[in-house]
Point group: C2
Chain length 323, copies 2
């Protein structure tokens, strides 16, 4: 049996979800790849945390080079979050001939060219399906089975926190503050929710979608971005009277030879498929000049959905390595 040896950078929520996905579906994943996938080394300081997975103390290291420079690692999964040191670690891994998988939208959006060029020049694979839409396989769809299309438009609900807040305001009449608190209580929002509610998280994701679907680099900070903090119950009620809902929509649209993009609270009529996307779910609506309208719907965050996307990328790499 061929072996694919994985080094994991970071074992917080998403790292644990990834580990758990592999542990839970190990036999299936082995059958699907024709190789045994094993997480042999984990860069993580917090050894005390309760993780509910079987992990041995000797799997942990606090020395990045034990993974990035080890000849015993084939694939590096980067789940540290943040632009640095994550980007530097990924570049080092690729320069050392390792394939890289990440869920890190901030690093991919900030360093798209640097990272994809490093993959090309080192003849390794660099995959980041989990960075947009969590478990929804939107990046694979855009970059493989839909490639016969010219993309005309992409519109997405790309942040579960804000969609949960808006759904609670609309369906249960909660104020913005109460809905935010409910999201925090259910683990859908951070203690400091700024990145979510101001749309910065979405900007990273839209930047990545624009790169893949339109071949342009638009840094997240150059995308006109308006969050949901100024929305009132009155806005939500007015939308309901007008037969629709307010959603935080990230959009990019072809306009002649150029593209237009923005992130802002937007009226969505009730008969549009994006209107039915409730609570913490995400959805991406795509229009191609051959396929017409498509929508992809699912959980945009969470340890196991994200773990599904990360391990999907690793399986894809394992199959390519074995070919």
């Amino acid at each position: 049996m061929k072996q694919i040896r994985i080094g994991l950078l970071g074992m917080g929520n998403i790292g644990t979800g990834t580990y758990k996905t592999l542990e839970m579906n190990k036999a299936l994943i082995t059958a699907n790849t024709g190789a045994e996938l094993t997480i042999v080394k984990i860069l993580e300081k917090d050894l005390a945390r309760k993780r509910d997975v079987r992990v041995l103390p000797e799997q942990f290291t606090q020395e990045p080079s034990d993974i990035l420079e080890s000849p015993d690692i084939d694939v590096v999964i980067e789940l540290l979050g943040g632009i640095e040191p994550a980007t530097g670690f990924m570049l080092t891994a690729m320069n050392n001939g390792k394939h890289v998988v990440t869920a890190n939208k901030a690093a991919v959006a900030a360093n798209f060219d640097k990272l994809t060029n490093a993959a090309r020049s080192n003849s390794v694979m660099f995959r980041f399906e989990a960075s947009v839409g969590g478990g929804i396989p939107i990046l694979t769809a855009l970059t493989a089975p839909l490639l016969a299309n010219e993309y005309e438009e992409i519109r997405g609900i790309l942040n579960g926190t804000t969609n949960y807040i808006l759904t609670q305001m609309e369906e249960n009449g909660l104020s913005y503050d109460s809905a935010l608190k409910a999201a925090q209580d259910r683990g859908f929002a951070e203690a400091d929710p700024t990145a979510d509610v101001e749309g910065h998280d979405v900007a990273n994701k839209l930047s990545i979608l624009i790169s893949l679907a339109f071949g342009r680099r638009v840094p997240p900070e150059n995308i006109p971005t308006e969050g949901i903090t100024k929305l009132t119950m009155r806005d939500i009620e007015t939308a309901a009277v007008d037969g629709g809902k307010i959603k935080l929509i990230a959009s990019v649209k072809k306009r002649g030879n150029d593209i237009e993009y923005s992130i802002k609270p937007t009226f969505v009529p009730n008969d549009h498929p994006l209107a039915g996307v409730r609570n913490e779910f995400n959805a991406i609506f795509v229009k191609g000049n051959a396929v017409g309208e498509l929508m992809f719907y699912g959980k945009g965050a969470g340890p196991l959905p994200t773990g599904s996307a990360v391990m999907g990328d690793v399986i894809e790499i394992a199959r390519a390595v074995l070919r």
Copy 2:
């Protein structure tokens, strides 16, 4: 520039849509594959038909071997429909070392093992994304980015004709007969609608989904299948009162070590994402043990959406050949 030479079997609606997709997006497809894709030969008797594409008389042949046995063909696209001679043609093509792409759900469902084994033993690729869900890339999703999941359930609206009829009955109060007539007038239903309205078309698609997601062969004729012909306005109205809609749902569900499957008109509550799938659209709802709930939505039929899926498969083959 590398060349990928394609032979096309059949140039009816779907064949023309496939040809048009390639013609319309040729530059883009060349850029995305790194090769020039050309349909060099077309098996088709009807040369008189108005097709609105640029095709030369010398591209046509009426001799299958001009494609199936020609050393100048790399990929065969089969769009004849029906089990035979389509299956025999695909087997001959693969035995002659050609990759095969098809949209033919009847042939794939009837001969899944024979066709996939022929691909394996000849070391060629056999792809059939367009056979289920038209332009929706559901088969690619199930067999690549979601492979880290054990599938628990798949539920789909897999037939646009019946969904159009049900939507017209529900939204516009049409009787079954009037709604069927409206579907026929808009080109969404055949003159003889039996295969659609009795669920046989869906049975082929569900059989393929079961093969890919659960690794079992269930012939379409063994799937308990009930169409929509016995539905009345009263059923639709009762569903509305109960807060939902009647949809023709194909479903397969894991139950211990076994699976359960059926096709039948089913109550779908309004807050379920499948309830919002209107008119000729299709959608496939998937539940995986890591990713949770996903839904894929789009046009399940039509020349260009199907052409998008067929050409997506050809591009995937071209990229693999070039690697």
